[in-house]
Amino acid sequence: MSFLPRSPSAIFLSTVGLLAVVAAVFPQWLTPYDPTGIDVTALLAAPSWRHPFGTDELGADVLARVIYGVRLELAIALGSVVLAGVVAIPCGLLAGYLGGWVDWVLTLVADSILSFPIVLFAVLIVASLGASVATLIGVLGFVFVPRIFRLVRGQTQVIRATGFVRAARAMGVRTPTILVRHILPNILGPLLVIVPQLMAIAVLIEAGLSFVGLGVQPPQISWGSLLLVSKNYYIAAAWYPLAVGTVTTLAAAALVFGGDLAAAAVNPSRRRV
């Protein structure tokens, strides 16, 4: 397939992505340390060759905790976006293609959700239903639905007007088939851009929520919960919160750039077959 990465940035980000997947599924391959190990001889040790990010207040290797945290990050980011997509993509296709009252109703619902401030809403839900990974995925998924819906709806409207869709209709192809075989493959590009962007938002919101105690609870490890704990030591062991914060930020950035590159790679006008 012609979309294998070729440019340096593409290769770099693909490697990062691959590492993230490995970190989520087989974290033990990437670090010899036990993230929950207690070592009273090396509390809050500074970064060294043995501990690139230093150790935390219980002696556990910080890098190991960050790596083990990838699993939850990925679960939350991916889970929320997939949940949103499962709902939003079909709705967007229908609203964009059929128009009329279907479009009117769906857009109304989507716009209403869009008007909620994300973080405030998340806080409210978590406060009433209790903090857990499932709640987080649910809340974020709910909030992402209108964003994916609008993109899909807009793109569907554009593609509906193109010659090949008109030709398909003129041929007698039925609407569901047109939606799935003609329109869906052609909205892949913009989706590939927005999905990682939303994942990045999910990572950052989780970090924020966990930071105020409304997110992931111990003993589960997430970067947000790490930030919550590490902030207490920012004077004595500044590398600790810095390391976690930097990784979080870079991950969000990598997601966004990766999305742009993936969309460009999938663009059919680049193919020279």
């Binding site: 398909a168 007698g172 052609n186 077959v273």
Partner: protein, 330 residues
């Protein structure tokens, strides 16, 4: 007497248009009647806003009518989307203007040509490759193009694929909507020449929509000249070009530059004054009266009836007799 293939009777099509705060109605097609015989090529000619594309779409049931009927072999056009309407897609096909957007960029040519074959059950999976190769050959393309994507093909090649796609169902009539307007002259000649070969081979009828008068003269058996949704003149191509009777047709023929400098130098161009009226607010009576050198009071008072002058030649003009007799007003 052979049965008429397609017949449109007093069709009217309206679109809603919002201009500022007003809701306006655009009469895209305003009382059109025509018939197409099997194997015949009927040309729809007009400038922008004439409604020719809309009329072409309506003729094969792709456009909702405000009033009037379209009949295929005597049967009224079924509701779009219904099973019978889908069946008729086998008989009535269309090729659009822009070859660059008429093919799904993510599908190979094989996939694009398989779609009609699969949809209408015209070839089993084993037969399909053979059918596709034959279709490609029919339009003058090599079978090896089936594996490629539209981006690798030129505009002319893409348009041939679109024609092949329309032919795949072996239709009785194909609407050609400005199919060469986006192509170079030399490519256009290739496509038209292909179309003429296909006509001879398959006896397919065509509704050929174009603004290019030279093109239409070479392709159509009969033509209808449209202005703001109405016919101003219809009849045999040769007769209309040799002796146009409607002021608009006359103006059109005078306006088209001819690729012959001697003749051009000898002609006197008297460009038509005025602009095409707003289709949402057309003039009363005859739509053309605001630009017509023959217009008088009656032209504003009532729309002229479509009068038959001689065998098949029809004109809608109050002053057609004067024009016929060569009385000219400057």
């Amino acid at each position: 007497m052979s049965e008429v293939l397609l017949e449109a009777e007093d069709i009217r099509i309206r679109f809603a248009k919002r201009s500022g705060r007003k809701n306006q109605v655009v009469r895209a097609v305003d009382g059109l009647s025509f018939a197409v015989d099997p194997g015949e090529t009927f040309g729809l000619v007009g400038e922008s806003g004439s409604g020719k594309s809309t009329a072409g779409n309506a003729a094969i049931g792709l456009q909702e009518l405000f009033s009037g009927t379209v009949r295929y072999r005597g049967e009224p056009m079924p509701v779009p989307g219904s099973a019978r309407w889908r069946d008729l897609r086998r008989q009535l096909q269309v090729v659009f203007q822009d070859p660059f957007s008429s093919l799904n960029p993510r599908w190979t040519i094989r996939q694009a040509l398989s779609e009609p074959l699969k949809l209408h059950g015209l070839a089993s999976a084993e037969e399909r490759d053979g059918a596709i190769a034959r279709l490609l050959e029919q339009v003058g393309l090599g079978a090896e193009l089936a594996a490629r994507y539209p981006a690798a093909l030129s505009g002319g090649q893409r348009q041939r694929v679109c024609i092949a796609r329309a032919l795949a169902v072996q239709p009785e009539l194909i609407v050609c909507d400005e199919i060469t307007s986006a192509l170079d002259v030399s490519t256009q000649a290739q496509i038209i020449s292909l179309l003429q070969d296909l006509k001879a081979q398959t006896q397919v009828a065509l509704i050929f929509i174009s603004h290019d008068l030279g093109l239409v003269r070479g392709v159509a058996d009969r033509i209808g000249v449209m202005y703001l949704g109405r016919f101003v003149e219809t009849g045999e191509t040769g007769k209309i070009f040799a002796r146009p009777l409607h002021p608009y047709t006359i103006a059109l023929l005078h306006a088209v530059p001819v690729p012959d400098p001697e003749r051009e130098a000898a002609r006197k161009h008297q460009p038509l004054h005025g602009e095409i009226p707003d289709p949402a607010d057309p003039p009363s009576g005859c739509y053309f009266r605001t630009r017509c050198p023959y217009a008088t009071d009656i032209c504003a008072a009532e729309a002229p009836a479509f009068e038959e002058m001689e065998d098949g030649h029809r004109v809608a003009c109050h002053h057609v007799r004067e024009i016929e007799q060569g009385v000219r007003r400057s």
